[in-house]
Each structure stands twice: as structure tokens, then as C-alpha cells.
Symmetry: C2
Subunit: 379 residues, 2 copies
């Protein structure tokens, strides 16, 4: 059976191949986007699963929107306005996919940062959106370029990761947050604020969501994957209720609803008295890992590579003065270290700055150090 034309546009994913190779014995992987399994809140998860096992309410079909007690909790923790709503999704990836399916006609203009989250590139490619990109500065998207894009065509939505961006680790400044919100309001562009790493800040100042400056022009994607455990596959979308209601209709057609026992487990974990301590612990360790990675880069890699410091999240973006990132990633793998060449995070027409993405959440400090020493032999 012949696949549909929009599926044929999905690029075969080089990152998937490299991730497969990265799991081979003896390879240190800085390639994946995996949180640290040794830091998962196993005791809390175990306690929650055992508790939920006795809850007979979670086994029947449920409401598409989500498990009511979890939704109530999300309303409070997300500080939702009365006119806004929430939807529980199978990971925030599904939230993004539902937004694209519900709101994008083939050919609709959307804007992404360049580079951008690979999963977003795939979602919008599948939706046959007309993908425009705006280059990223150290404070967030280049504002003049963004305004020009918004002014020159009818842009439906701007998808962005303002906190500890994937792949670059960049966080938007407060002023950029306010300026982007104003632009979205002025041009009636919907901001899709993807915030999976937001709770992983380990230095610097906590900044408001961009959407807090333009709540009627924004939807927010949240993920439980980086703060509890990704295997559960739970995330949420919040925004104006009218928009959420349309997402719910499409989600009903997609999968009826997300797993109820998992939603009940998530609520137990989020409301556990030790959850905050768990989060603090993750931040402490991710900071240690980041510092170990940065130190190893400073010590072992040639001075012509550079990186912007990050204040949280899981990634560091190593800029190369020269060389082909694909070649470097292949040679690195031969030496026993997996990294992702930056090119995969750009859409086809983008000008690509040579860089590689390094993940620092998954490996322990000693492995990060060893990986960079191996990588040094490639340069």
C-alpha cells in the first residue's frame, strides 16, 4: 500500500540511526535527549503505582480531556485563567501534533526558530505547513527578522522553546519574552510555547512564561517527561478554552484519551511531599553534569570551538569554527562517543551554522569527561 504524499515528505531520520548506534556497548552517548534514569523518582513512582492499583476509577473509559483530579491540579499549578482550559496528552509531543492537526491547513505559514526541535520539524512537515524560520541569538529569536516575517505573510503560529532550548540550550531574556509577546499580539500570531525543560533551571533567574505576556494569543505545552519519567508519556496543553475544545475533538478521534492509571500516578507524584526535593536533586545533578561537560570542553577541545553557557535544561550547543558536523559525528562514533550533528535541527532551506549538540543529562560527570577526551581526538 502506497503511503500518503505528506508522509513521503518526512525525512528518514538520521538521528534515529545515530541513536541506535549510540546504544551499542562501549559507546558513551551524548546524543539522545534522555533524562537521567538514575535520578527518576523511583520511590515516589513505586508508591504511586501501588496506590493507583487500588483505585477502581481509573480502569474504565474516561473523558477525552483527562483525569479530572489531575486537570484540577494542572489548573492550579499552571495558574490558569477562568477562560482557559487544559488537556492531558500522551506526552507533550502529542499536544504539539494535535495543535498542528487541528489548526494547520496545508500551506499555512508557521514560524520556528533555527535551529529547532526535531520533533516539531517533523510535526509541521507532516501537517504540510509552510515552515519559515527565524535565526536564534543568545537572547532568543532575532526580533527584527521575526517582525519582518510576521509582517510579510499571514503567519498562523510561532512555535518556540524559550527555556533551555533544544538543541541550543539558550534561554530567552525577559525583554525578548515581552517583545515576542507584543509581536504575537500585534500580528495576531498564536505562540506555541513548548516548556519541557522549564523546571530544570540550575542557575540564573527564573523568568515568566512568554505566554504570561500574551495569554489570549498562546498555548503552552508542558511535559512530565523531564521532571518525573518519560516512559509514562504524559504532557498537557493549556490555553484559551475555545482552542482547547477543538483539540479535544481531534484527540477523541486520535486515541479517545490518554492512559488513566498513568494520569493518576502522575498526580500522586506531583502532589507528593517529596516531589520538590526530587526536583531540587535533579537540578543539582544536572548542574554538576553541565559543569563537568563545560570544564572538559575548556580543557580538552581546541580553542576554536565555542559554546554559549546554559542555565538549565539538558543540552549544550558546541559551535565549530569549521568542518562538517556530519563527518565529525561519524568519526566520533568510531572513537566511541555519540553526538548529534547540528544540521538535523534545521529545515532544508536554512543556513546551517556548523555545530554539534551535546546532551549532559544522561551521562555521569566522569563519562562526560571521558567522552570529551575521545571527541578531542576527532578535532
Amino acid at each position: 500500500m502506497q503511503t500518503a504524499r505528506h508522509v513521503q515528505q518526512l525525512r528518514s531520520s538520521y538521528i534515529r540511526e545515530i541513536l541506535r548506534a549510540a546504544t551499542a556497548d562501549g559507546v558513551i552517548s551524548l546524543a539522545g535527549g534522555l533524562p537521567a534514569a538514575d535520578l527518576f523518582p523511583h520511590a515516589l513512582l513505586q508508591e504511586a503505582l501501588i496506590k493507583v492499583a487500588g483505585n477502581k476509577q481509573v480502569f474504565q473509559y474516561g473523558e477525552t480531556r483527562g483525569y479530572a483530579p489531575l486537570l484540577d491540579h494542572l489548573r492550579v499549578t499552571s495558574d490558569l485563567k477562568t477562560s482557559h482550559g487544559a488537556l492531558v496528552t500522551t506526552g507533550s509531543q502529542q499536544g504539539l501534533d494535535l495543535i498542528a492537526r487541528t489548526y494547520i491547513n496545508p500551506g499555512d505559514h508557521i514560524v520556528l526558530e533555527a535551529p529547532s526541535y526535531l520533533g516539531a520539524l517533523q510535526v509541521f512537515t507532516l501537517a504540510q505547513a509552510n515552515i519559515n524560520t527565524v535565526v536564534q541569538t543568545s537572547n532568543g529569536p532575532a526580533l527584527m527578522a521575526l517582525e519582518q516575517l510576521f509582517a510579510s505573510r499571514s503567519v498562523k503560529l510561532f512555535y518556540a522553546v524559550p527555556d533551555f532550548h533544544n538543541p541550543t540550550g539558550i534561554s530567552w531574556s525577559l525583554q525578548t519574552r515581552k517583545d515576542v509577546a507584543k509581536l504575537c499580539q500585534a500580528f495576531n500570531v498564536t505562540l506555541i510555547e513548548d516548556a519541557p525543560y522549564r523546571d530544570l533551571r540550575f542557575s540564573g533567574e527564573h523568568l515568566p512564561l512568554v505566554s504570561s505576556f500574551c495569554p489570549e494569543n498562546a498555548m503552552v505545552l508542558r511535559s512530565s517527561s523531564k521532571i518525573s519519567a518519560p516512559g509514562l508519556r504524559l504532557g498537557s496543553v493549556t490555553g484559551p478554552e475555545e482552542w482547547i475544545a477543538h483539540l479535544i475533538r481531534v484527540k477523541q478521534t486520535s486515541d479517545l484519551h490518554s492512559s488513566l492509571p498513568m494520569q493518576a500516578v502522575m498526580l500522586e507524584v506531583f502532589t507528593h511531599p517529596e516531589f520538590e526535593a526530587h526536583l531540587r536533586n535533579v537540578r543539582i545533578h544536572y548542574r554538576q553534569r553541565y559543569l563537568a561537560l563545560a570544564q572538559a570542553i575548556n580543557q580538552h577541545l581546541p580553542p576554536e570551538v565555542s559554546y554559549a553557557e546554559v542555565e538549565g535544561g539538558m543540552f549544550l550547543w558546541l559551535r565549530l569554527a569549521q568542518g562538517d558536523p556530519m563527518e565529525i559525528a561519524k568519526k566520533a562514533l568510531e572513537k566511541g562517543v555519540a553526538v548529534v550533528p547540528g544540521d538535523v535541527f534545521y529545515s532544508a532551506d536554512d543556513i546551517k551554522s556548523p555545530a554539534i549538540r551535546l546532551n549532559f543529562s544522561y551521562c555521569k560527570p566522569e563519562d562526560l569527561n571521558a567522552a570529551i577526551q575521545l571527541l578531542a581526538r576527532v578535532f
Copy 2:
């Protein structure tokens, strides 16, 4: 933000409104498609959840295809050929949606039985398929009409529920199974065999899957919802590996993968020594409920209504000699019993036989009897 055009084609679901009304206090619901919560394998589920709570492998990101031990189990129980593959989905609804997203271009011809599963109508409407229907006889689809459809246009796929159809309860005869398989082979049409009720046979002879007669032309959707518990949201798609591989690419974009703890729980339940006894118990009770419903209809409803006997599943299709099913459903709700008017199971252009769908899995025999006595007052 304006929804996409294909979303605007989704009908606002009358059944959702009636299902909401059906949950009101004092209403006996024969409307939903709910399995009996009192027959869920609670002890097995509880044991499985507690066991899985200690399995540290299920909390990290996993493979899109599914949890390897569950896939191995599915291969064996589905008797898969070496050249065929399986994919675990968030309910079989997601499997169907993925098939439509992966293989349907807007305008592609597909065939459904009339009446048909409402969730399938919604999936193919969202995919902008050109929906053709073939009328259902007591043995399955009308074969001449099906052949004419296949011969007169390029049909991509034929979606069908050969075992205990939703909404009619009909099961295809062995001969019809063979004949449909032959037609699919002759015209190179892919059969999408949806089998959520297949394990719920309580009388008559177990028949082979239609796809067993045309394995290279078919994909099979299986659901755990009716044999364990729907809240877990797990199903699967099996078929030629090349086709499954394309579904996996789209599923990766949709939600990365389905919940791993739920997949591990499912495997524990399926392989539990008491699972077969649980299934037998469900069948025994569903048979009792069906017989109670049938007896109440024979006793209390006027002779001009009729129904085809069913050998399993969850539904009975009550054919009306006259009257508007929508009106009857509304009046029934006023009397305190919820049913679904048959019209909602047809696509817009179909000739609709007046009927209402009665669910017999959810209510106990005494409630089914009381419901029919209330319904009798509408006629």
C-alpha cells in the same frame, strides 16, 4: 485561531451529548460502548501494577514500536508470519488513526460497511477520505455491491468489523470471510480488520480472521479494552512489516510511543494463569446480559420491532418498522433510558434503516430488563 478545514468537516457528535446525558443519576444507559467495570480483572490488574512498580526498565523513553516483551507475546498470540510485524498503540483507535494518517491522501476512496463504527467514520472524515459504503446483510457485507465498488473505482482500503460488529452485532459467515478476502486480493484492496470484540464470543462457532485468508492484503487492529480494561488505552496493529514500519514513523511524530508501564501491565495480565478464566467469566456474564435483554425485548416491545440474534460482543441492533430513531432516543431519555439512534452510524449520503443500538455489556440483567420496560412506554 481558525481550525483547519478538515477539522470543520467533523460532525459535532450527537452521541457525545447523549452519552453525557446518559451518566445523569437515575438514567439506565444502554447507550455507551462501555465494557462492564464490575467484570474487570481487578485482582490481576492490581497484582500487575504492583509488580511493574518495581521494574525500573519502564520509566525511560522506549522504542516507538512498543515494549519488546509485549511485542514478543503479541507475535506469538497473533500467530504472525516472519515477514509481518506488530506495533503497540494507544488503544486500537490510535491504530486506525495512524493507518488513515499514513496511507490516505485527501480524496482517496475507502469502503466502510453501512452502518459503521462511529470512530472509524470520524477518522476517515478527518483524513478527508472519499467514503463509500456497502450495505450489511446478516452474513456480512453485501458481496455483489462490494465487488461493484472495488471494480468501479480505485479503492485503497476496506475497513470492517467482522466479529460482533459495532453497532449491529453481526458476525460474518465463514464463506463471506473467504469471499471478501478473495475480493481484496483480486482488486488489491487492503483490508483493515478491526477485531476489538473478537474474544467476546459466547455462542456459535469460532471463525478465522478474514485476514487469515489474505494476510498480504490486510492489517489487523486488536484492543485490550474489552478483554482487560479500557482505561489503560492499549491496542495493536499487525500486518506486513513494510506497512507497519511506515506507521511507526508517523506514530513517532504523534507521541513517540505508548506508555511503557501500561504495556508491562498488559503483558502481566495477558500472561497471568487466571487470564483465561477471567475471559470465560466475562463471556458468561455477557451472554446472561444479552439473553436478559433479548427476553425483555421479546416480552415488552411491540412485535413490529425486530433484531438479529448475536453470538458475542456488546451490542444488539433493534430495527424499527417505523418512526424516527432520533425522536425515540430523545423520548427514551425522558423516560430514564439512554440508547443511541442508529442514524449516527451512517455517513451523510447513506440510506439509513431506522434502528437503535442497544448495549448489553454495561448494565446488569435486572437493569436491562427495567430499561426495556421503560423503552416500551415510548413505542
